[in-house]
Amino acid sequence: MKKGHYGPYGGQYIAETLMTPLRELEAAYEDAKADPAFQAEFREILRDYVGRESPLTFARRLTERLGGARIVLKREDLNHTGAHKVNNTIGQALLARRMGKKRLIAETGAGMHGVATATVAALFGMPCEVYMGATDVARQAPNVARMKMLGATVHPIEEGGATLKDAMNEAIRDWIANCDDTFYVIGTVAGPHPYPAMVRDFQSVIGTEARRQMLEKFGKLPDQAIACVGGGSNAMGLFAGFLDDPGVRLVGVEAGGKGIATGEHAASICGGRPGVLHGSKTYLLQTDDGQILDTYSVSAGLDYPGVGPEHAYLADTGRAEYVPVDDAEAVAAFDALCRYEGIIPALESSHAVAEAIKRAPHLPGDAILLVNLSGRGDKDMDNVLAWKAAHPPVPAL
């Protein structure tokens, strides 16, 4: 495969101004990847600061209620900052420092990546500016407050649908203007090469740990590994641990919003077609004329019209399957995890939990569904309450 490409996907479809900075980044990353001192520092921070490794939790009561496959949760929600995002921001901040960059910028949707970037910026003493769609600023107020508390500047973006893609547009513009001293910390496995590979590598700690923990704790690999997919970094991190295990089905869960048929969703693979945006060729939600569509999901973190190019490739080759879960199913799964397990999950992660809830009853009791619980749901309280107030009650499990 051509470097930086995943079959026909990936690549570097970006402004010429960024091509040289991308080459420098690629060289610096290859160098760091092969440097044991860099890897050791990365692992040390993950252990002593993030609190890794994150445990596997057997969801006993939920499993008993469903009566089928065992559901096991990979607890990325227990990481410092409350989501998997910090695995990647630590890696990129270490790289930024190594490259002598003075300033971090980031885009954020739900705000978890913004918080994780603001966190590492504080940890490393670097200024940080976060671009966030104005719609998301409004619906993720707790995370905006956290970013500001951590010393970051948050720029609300009013253009387009004022969500994640618009924030990413503006972050790219900032990077074009300030590429000499600025490191752009992309939060997902999207963007131009080397970002999709680099972010996957930093997040692969999820899958590597989970694979070992499965063998230690259950003496077998999971039958299915399930994760939600917006851009797809938590899913790619989980899948990375099992790509070479053909017996493990990989399941990516996209945001079905109000249903694929309504057009109001954020399911790029299930409801989109290939195109080029933000540096990559990949599945996109777009009009027939190639204009990028505004997306919709109850969960801000999945509200993105594209998907990482490696997911596009895994979908085409059939190595992973991608399915939509709609808002109501996600909210029902959110409730179920709260009531049966005492865990308040992020709405994003609730999509993956919902898919496991659908599948478990149809599988034998010795099967295991490994679900990446990519984040905690404290940030989503207001959204869930508002969603429930506006919709008929979801049936309780």
Binding site: Q12, A15, T17, T20, I176, V276, L277, D289, G290, Q291
Partner: protein
């Protein structure tokens, strides 16, 4: 020789730089774009870049972004831009016409279909802001057999070697040199090192070079003209159209 080569021969013989004009097609309306393009080509502009509106113009500053969104609000499509190009071609048989786009719009249209229709409309070249050297072969493969050329971009971060590689095989086109690190839009000051950089690039490549991004005054155009084969004015023209949708004589005086 194609129209682009003829154009630069003419301007060089006249001892002046080529005036490359950019307009966002469909802003403030398709009819206004057509009239403005006609005015430009009749009154001093040598090459016209027809900007195709895109929903996510990451390389553009506020003026061209707003123009693109306004054009999209009216439902302007690539087919409209090509139809407009065909009408301009009929009136201005010698003027080079360049389709200026983001890649997804062309990709969604179908690259072969786009190349067929662009060639039929009398378009000379295609410029794609997010299609660097590494990715352009897919598009060149459909443009070249139809007699269309491609305008490569060179940025302030681009090495001379890379610029030469980008120009290679496109001797029937011109090299678009981006003056500033940043998005499109008028700048009060262009970088002090610009003149030296343009001179270095011009010596290193076998194609004409035109500099754009940030150029909005006659003085800036003259400065660029001392060392380059052409200058590009975009945002300043689009901004001029914001007033009453028409270009006036004072909007056109760049040399």
């Amino acid at each position: 020789m194609n129209r682009i080569q003829n154009c630069f021969s003419r301007t060089r013989a006249a001892g002046r730089p080529a005036f490359v004009a950019y307009l966002t097609m469909g802003f403030p309306s398709l009819a206004a774009s057509e009239k403005a393009a006609d005015t430009l080509l009749s009154s001093g502009a040598d090459i016209l870049e027809l900007g195709v509106p895109f929903s996510d113009p990451v390389a553009d500053g506020a003026v061209i972004r707003a123009a693109a969104y306004a054009a999209l609000e009216q439902g302007v499509k690539l087919a409209d831009v090509l139809a407009l190009a065909a009408r301009l071609r009929a009136k201005h048989p010698d003027a080079p016409l360049v389709v200026f786009s983001y890649y997804n719009v062309l990709y969604a249209h179908g690259l072969e279909r786009f190349a067929d229709e662009a060639a039929a409309a009398g378009v000379d070249a295609v410029l794609v802001v997010d299609l660097p050297l590494e990715e352009r072969d897919e598009l060149l493969a459909v443009l070249r057999p139809r007699g269309l050329t491609f305008v490569p971009l060179v940025a302030p971060t681009t090495s001379v070697e890379r610029a030469a590689a980008s120009a290679k095989g496109l001797e029937d086109s011109f090299l678009y040199v981006i003056t500033v690190k940043g998005t499109t839009g008028a700048r009060a000051e262009l970088p002090p090192e610009l003149k030296d950089r343009l001179a270095t690039l011009r010596a290193a490549v076998d194609v004409p070079i035109a500099a754009g991004f940030g150029v909005s005054t006659r003085e800036q155009a003259a400065m660029i003209g001392e060392v380059a084969d052409g200058f590009v004015v975009g945002s300043a023209l689009v901004k001029a159209l914001e007033k009453d949708g028409t270009l006036h004589a004072e909007d056109l005086r760049y040399y």
